[in-house]
């Protein structure tokens, strides 16, 4: 039975992130000092992979995208009701905490839908900014050598 999913679209990124992690610290780290149930019963750490933050972000987004639409709609409705109540009669401490959590969860859903594109856009902006800086430096150099 094949349970694997190919991450072809992210393969290069995944390879890079794994290479980066390998060069900076061991991927499979053994930490036996602070294990509780697992230290007594099994050492789960040596074979548990340690992903880079970029990979974690991408995997988290992929999992978040699996949240059913029905659940997201329920969260949106719940947020609307809590916000309405906040401005009409105020919220209890428990409801305040719930509103913070619902906002966080919906932010994660938004990030899962648009985050990859926003990251790409951010990188493009960074490239253009660097390019503009290079052009500016070149212009200054031409002026100074006149």
């Amino acid at each position: 039975m094949n349970t694997s999913t190919s991450f072809q679209e992210n393969d290069i990124g995944l390879v890079q992130s794994i290479e980066r992690t390998e060069s900076e610290s061991p991927v499979f780290r053994v930490d036996k000092t602070l294990r509780s149930l697992s230290s007594e019963e099994m050492d789960i750490s040596p074979e548990s992979p340690r992903y880079s933050v970029d990979t974690i972000r991408r995997l988290n987004r992929a999992i978040t995208r699996k949240i059913p639409k029905r659940v997201v709609e329920e969260l949106i409705n719940e947020r609307q009701n809590l916000v309405k109540k906040k401005f009409s009669e105020g919220l209890t401490q428990k409801e305040e905490k719930r509103l913070i959590f619902v906002n966080w969860q919906l932010d994660r859903v938004d990030d899962a839908e648009t985050g990859d594109e926003m990251d790409r856009l951010e990188k493009m902006i960074e490239l253009y900014e660097n390019f503009a800086e290079d052009i500016d430096n070149m212009r200054k150099w031409f002026i100074s050598t006149k």
Binding site: V15, I18, P49, S52, I56, N60
Partner: protein, 241 residues
Amino acid sequence: MIWLNGLLAVPTIGIRIKPHYGDMQVFENQIAKFIDYISKNFDELKIDKLGSWGYKIEPKESGYRFHIEPHNIVAHFSYAVVQKPIAGGFPTFKIPKLQSFQELQSILVKYIKAILELFDSLTDFSYDRIGLIADMTLEKDSIPPGIINWLEDLSKTIKGDIIMMDSTFLVELNNSDKYNEKCFHYAKYDNTKPEIGYEIKLDWQREFHDKMKLNSKKMYTVLDDCITSSLEYFKNFGEGV
């Protein structure tokens, strides 16, 4: 929906057992039957001996791992990266299909129940603890508000910014006539190595005051109850309730 389902979180289920050494041959026979059972679902199994009577069973490239030994039954899942060599090209990397925490946990429960059913013949074996773990590595933006609050509270009494943390807190949650419940809260991060992320682990346990007979039918109910209680605790902890 519990917040764990929207994050890269993996489950572990552990049961601490007390063996009866007169039945160790039966114990090993029953493990062999479990190996037969899971071999129907997976093409290749990696099996290692653990001590004199225990076994570590790992369906290859699946992420599942089982440790069955005289003192413990443990089922664990992790997203293991598998390297696929390509002749004349760069290797590609695959990870098992992404699933929510509760989906993965329910699969582990199915396997644990299969083991318990096979162990019904070990009439003199008993158990005294059930543990359920949620293990996750997060980037800063994806940490749920309850855990952010917890980490911030820990640093409140310390002057200056915390650069590195490696802490375990054991909290007693409930103490009744029959059992007590506790949870280890483990947090580790290092801001000097931002490429690593935040390692968070919640290790919920119910420990019985008296040893209980290994009886699958009774244990199914207890296990389901432990899962409900632990998920409720994890949910509230992440939400900051």
